[in-house]
């Protein structure tokens, strides 16, 4: 017993070192697996405070660019107003408002909110964006995020009371369902962490006739993003000899280094769809088991 105490006293520094290392490595792997660790909500509040102070200064330099983007967006929206068209279709009137559904049976599927980016990096392998709205403003995990001119940025992976973290497209763990606008073939976008100006798109069959500059838009099957929003353009076409698919390099439409304002889209049927998916898996697996 005495020897144990002597041992502990002698190597106390080393033991403290081992314990601290274990704590930080545990933090690291736990967080990577589940995207969040206990207590990150609290630190998120604190870093959010610093980041919003910093953002006040940064806004001063970047608002001009942002104003131009919003002006372009407004320009495209104002052209869609019904008052621009003289001949109205009088037989059917589609009313879309914030009520979940109207008497004609039109369900509202996506609701949009805006938020301000307060911290953002592009040079890490796992880039996160922090915004100044959180669960208190109705944000939840897995909501899609678009730039102010409607181009894909990423999705929310963690929320605190007043701030949220977004996993941007420039994150090695991102996996986004997209499609080629022209052929409507679906593929998956990933990032290889090599160049912040190029994403990788796989699973587009070689039967597609592609040219450089073709548009890539969000896909039909995502739970987080509405379909048909711009993601980027094809920058490089490589034919993978071992498979029947292209490996495409995509230039993202968003300039990640000067993001200022973002739009957050909520899929109002997310819980419904996710639950259906879960239950289907459970049901099919339960049916399978007795047969084996």
């Amino acid at each position: 017993m005495r020897n144990i105490f002597l041992f502990i006293r002698r190597y106390f520094t080393f033991l403290v070192f081992i314990v601290l290392q274990a704590v930080s490595v545990w933090f690291l792997f736990r967080y990577n697996r589940f995207y969040r660790a206990k207590g990150m909500g609290v630190t998120n509040e604190i870093t959010g405070w610093f980041n919003s102070r910093y953002n006040n200064v940064e806004d001063f330099f970047k608002m001009k660019e942002e104003n131009k983007r919003i002006l372009r967006m407004n320009d495209s929206l104002i052209n869609l107003l019904s008052s621009n068209f003289v001949k109205n279709d009088s037989t059917v009137r589609i009313a879309t408002d914030s009520i979940p559904f109207d008497t004609l049976g039109h369900y509202r599927r996506y609701a949009w909110r805006y938020a301000q980016v307060i911290y953002n990096t592009v040079n890490a392998e796992k880039n996160y964006i922090q915004i100044n709205k959180g669960s208190g403003q109705g944000l939840k995990d897995n909501m899609g995020v678009f730039s102010s001119d409607g181009k894909l940025v990423g999705k929310i992976v963690n929320v605190s009371a007043n701030y949220s973290m977004i996993m941007s497209l420039l994150h090695v763990q991102n996996n986004v369902d997209v499609m080629i606008k022209k052929s409507r073939n679906a593929g998956i976008i990933t990032w290889d962490a090599k160049n912040s100006k190029l994403l990788t798109l796989t699973r587009i069959p070689k039967s597609d006739q592609l040219v450089i500059g073709d548009t890539v838009v969000t896909g039909n099957f995502s739970l987080s993003y509405p379909p048909g929003f711009m993601v980027g353009t094809v920058a490089e076409i490589v034919k993978d000899n071992s498979t029947n698919f292209y490996i495409l390099k995509i230039k993202p439409a968003v300039n990640f280094s000067d993001l200022q304002q973002v739009m957050i889209v909520e899929n109002l049927q997310y819980a419904d769809q996710a639950q259906l998916l879960e239950e289907t898996k459970k049901k099919v697996e339960e049916v399978k088991k007795p047969a084996q």
Partner: protein
């Protein structure tokens, strides 16, 4: 100014510099990530005992981690260099704590060549461990090696520049102090 207040100010400056300037620089190249915040640990006074030193290292790392949303990634290398620091100082300048003429490691207190070796060893350990932890979840071995070398080079460059630009006015220790 007392050592405590001076180091608290330094801590804030290094963390803010890393978070708001160095992490936000447009990437020069995929392999070059400028890291400077760990210089805070290199500059701590000689007199701090090993265990408080490691706890300071842990706090430094975890503070930066809460900004970059990667809990543990920077804390682990900071603890490592805080643990190794007394050994490296002991090997390079074999003196007792009370024999140093200055309070902190600096080119003036250790001599340029010894200070640079001290900084290089700890920078190399910090970056190797940090990039190793990143590599565990992503990347290839070649990428790992190149990244360690290039980030160490850029960090050493920044350490030398900051030593030359911000020469710390250290008080000469007298018997009365």
């Amino acid at each position: 100014m007392s050592d405590l207040i001076k180091n608290i100010i330094r801590f804030a400056v290094f963390i803010l510099l890393q978070v708001y300037i160095l992490n936000k620089l447009p990437a020069l190249h995929q392999f070059i990530i400028p890291y400077l915040y760990f210089l805070f640990i290199l500059w701590l006074p000689f007199a701090i005992p090993p265990i408080p030193l490691m706890i300071i290292g842990f706090l430094t790392g975890i503070t930066l981690d809460s900004f970059t949303n990667t809990p543990g990634l920077h804390a682990a290398p900071c603890i490592l260099i805080a643990f190794l620091r007394p050994f490296v100082i002991g090997i390079l300048t074999p003196k007792d704590v009370n024999e140093f003429n200055y309070r902190e490691p600096s080119p003036r207190s250790m001599g340029w060549s010894q200070y640079l070796i001290y900084a290089l060893i700890l920078t190399l350990f910090h970056h190797t461990y940090l990039i190793f932890l990143e590599w565990l979840s992503f990347g290839s071995f070649f990428r790992f090696l190149i990244k360690v070398i290039s980030t160490t080079a850029i960090s050493m460059l920044m350490i030398i520049v900051s030593e030359l630009l911000f020469a710390r006015r250290l008080r000469f220790r007298t018997n009365t102090a």
